[in-house]
């Protein structure tokens, strides 16, 4: 999602990530069941411009985290291409992959589980520095002090262990650790969903300040739409392994086109009475990604479906307005006239 003039930092082309569930030899022999694959990420196209924040929303199990992890190559994609700064990084190995990873870091969802409980803050933030090639211990110490200050912790925290911190402070440590590599691109995987409202606002503000200071690009994964609205420049809505709609934040929230986006937007509770939308309540739940429904994956819950096409043909990924992409038959002309 970029303006044509803007430089593209990351491009994802037709990315697939399938997880295989292996059946035992005996089961295969007796029942002729084949291995099952979970289609966590299924054909995703995405463009992220420099210094932008792309919000990725969707319900649990829709593949948001899988996409984030695949992009920074924590997992190998099944199919497709990841192009970072003009270079295809899909097949990188060894030292080259390491170089690439220096530029991309991740902030994890659960601040309680993503920090090693047996290491002090000095180690947690310092070890990435060692990997980056900062050899002298004194220099490392200086940088750690500096980073801690940047994320709003004080230097006296350096000798403490993760359990001595509150959730918000731990998330700050996680952010400092990511920053230690001087990355250009950060995948923030639900960084605030485990935190209380008042602390959540502190972390969001911190992420914004750091973005300005270090010219960072974010892929911000969240299920909370109001957080996404606040922080993102553009938003991609995911449903069952596919991006169903993508547009600039303002455009998406004002003119949602895909029925799923419309339902999602109407489902969030809003404090202001005037800002409330008429609630569309979707029936049923998200189908399993092991055996996704044929055609449009949303047709089982869609209030706007038409027979004969929604449940048979997969909708094309189309640009229906400038920089507003949607995958729905209603906007491709195929569902009209029925």
């Amino acid at each position: 999602m970029t303006n044509p003039q803007q430089e593209v930092l990351l491009e994802v082309k037709n990315l697939h990530k399938y997880y295989t569930i292996k059946q035992s030899y005996l089961t295969k022999l007796l029942t002729r069941h084949k291995d099952i694959s979970v289609q966590a990420v299924d054909g995703i196209n995405l463009r992220v411009g420099k210094k932008q924040t792309i919000g990725l929303v969707g319900e649990s199990g829709c593949g948001k985290t899988s996409l984030g992890r695949t992009i920074i190559r924590l997992q190998d994609p099944t199919q497709g291409q990841i192009i970072y700064d003009g270079e295809d990084v899909t097949k990188l190995h060894g030292e080259q992959l390491n170089q690439y990873r220096h530029k991309m870091q991740m902030v994890f969802q659960n601040p309680y589980a993503s920090l090693n409980p047996r290491k002090t803050v000095r180690d947690i933030v310092g070890i990435p520095l060692k990997n980056r090639g900062v050899k002298e211990p004194m220099r490392r110490e200086e940088i750690v002090y500096d980073l801690l200050q940047k994320v709003g912790l004080s230097p006296r925290h350096i000798n403490l262990y993760p359990h001595q911190f509150s959730g918000g402070q731990r998330q700050r440590i996680g952010i400092a650790r990511a920053l230690a590599m001087q990355p250009e691109f950060i995948v923030a995987d639900e960084p605030v969903s485990a935190l209380d409202v008042s602390v959540q606002a502190q972390i969001i503000n911190l992420l914004e300040e750091l973005q300005d200071e270090f010219d960072l690009t974010y892929l911000f994964i969240a299920h909370d739409l109001s957080v996404i609205f606040y922080i993102s420049d553009a938003v991609a809505v995911m449903y069952l392994g596919k991006i169903v709609e993508m547009a600039s934040t303002r455009e998406l929230f004002e003119h949602p086109l895909h029925p799923y986006t419309q339902a999602l937007l109407s489902a969030i509770p809003v404090v202001d009475r005037e800002a409330r939308r008429d609630r569309m309540i979707l029936s049923g739940t998200v189908p399993s990604p092991i055996n996704p429904p044929p055609g449009c994956r949303f047709h089982t819950r869609c209030f706007n479906k038409r027979g004969g096409c929604c449940n048979e043909k997969e909708p094309a990924w189309r640009e229906v307005a400038p920089e507003h992409w949607v995958a729905c038959h209603h906007y491709t002309g195929e569902a009209q006239g029925e």
Partner: protein, 328 residues
């Protein structure tokens, strides 16, 4: 219907008592929905457990009364209390996956509460072999499951909790809580573990139950927006105390306590105007080591000397109460 007066509940630990609930007074009318809002560790859930008298050891009620229909339930013996739970008050817990028993069929778990509360009288001389009674109970369970929106309830009755999705499990729990037609439903973050679209389904169901049956609901949540949409009245809790309480509209549109105001400014809003989040600095204090005077004082933007003295809750407008030194 429910009246709580000066309730205080402390966990007696070896060092200092953890003051989970301090001096809480509130009232709930028939058919009313009250939202109890606050951050984690502010005593919201402890409040519900106290009303149910299910406080875990070493929690003790220090002062106060809880009156249900004019009767103080704190003095009731255990047997009577067990009868009240389920028939008068019942509770929906936060995490449906851990609340249902994984080794029993969902339908049977709902039926068990009907059996315990003897909702269907037995005519047989050997009550536990009474087939007619069991059939009647099963019918009631199926009707309940239908009411809370569990599709194909006949086959769902015989399924186990792991075969249900999160939203369905929460529906089953609601069916369980409603089985004995209670007057008061305590909902402890019923939608926190669920997705937004499922949350909308469950909240619509609770609203419908409230309107059709006139069941009073106390909704505990950390989501101010959810409470603002759903509740008639809101009570904001901080460090075991109610800091502000009033009609939803008054509290949300005209917050008087700096904490409520801070919370409202911490939530990103979906508007066309440019906004900046103004978070509350610091974190929630340790309940065993509360600051002197107002517990919000160290984080407050409007703190001054008066805050160090004990602060009482005062009624500003009709039904709008605030606990803050500014208004003393």
């Amino acid at each position: 219907m429910l009246e709580i007066e000066n309730l205080s509940m402390y966990y007696d630990t070896a060092k200092k008592p953890v003051k989970a609930i301090q001096n809480v007074s509130l009232k709930l009318d028939q058919g009313e929905i009250l939202g109890l809002v606050g951050e984690s560790g502010c005593g919201k859930s402890a409040m519900l457990l106290t009303i149910m008298r299910l406080i875990p050891y070493p929690g003790k009620i220090k002062y106060g009364q809880i009156k249900l229909d004019g009767e103080n339930i704190l003095t009731k013996p255990g047997r009577e209390m067990r009868r009240l739970r389920g028939q008068k008050i019942s509770m929906i817990f936060q995490d449906p996956m851990t609340t249902l028993n994984p080794v029993f069929k969902v339908g049977e778990q709902v039926r068990e509460s009907l059996r315990i509360h003897e909702m269907v009288a037995s005519n047989s001389s050997i009550p536990f072999l009474d087939g007619a009674r069991k059939r009647k109970e099963m019918e009631m369970v199926l009707k309940l499951m239908q009411e809370v929106g569990i599709p194909s309830e006949e086959s769902r009755y015989h399924e186990f909790p792991h075969q249900y999705s999160g939203g369905m499990q929460q529906r089953a729990l609601i069916a369980l809580a409603l089985s004995c037609r209670p007057d008061l439903l305590l909902a402890d973050e019923p939608t926190t573990a669920l997705d937004v679209t499922i949350q909308a389904q469950i909240m619509a169901l609770l609203k419908q139950i409230n309107q059709e049956r006139g069941t009073g609901i106390i909704l505990v949540t950390h989501d101010l927006a959810l409470a603002a949409e759903f509740c008639h009245r809101i009570a904001v809790m901080y460090a075991g105390e109610i800091v502000e309480m009033g009609k939803t509209q008054d509290v949300i549109e005209n917050p008087q306590h700096p904490y409520t105001d801070g919370l409202l400014h911490s939530i990103p809003k979906i508007t066309t105007q440019k906004q900046k989040l103004l978070p509350i600095m610091g974190t929630v204090p340790d309940l065993a080591d509360l600051p002197e005077g107002c517990s919000f004082y160290p984080r407050c933007s409007q703190a001054h000397d008066k805050c160090l003295c004990a602060v009482d809750i005062v009624e500003l407008l009709e039904g709008h109460q605030v606990r803050c030194a500014i208004y003393q």
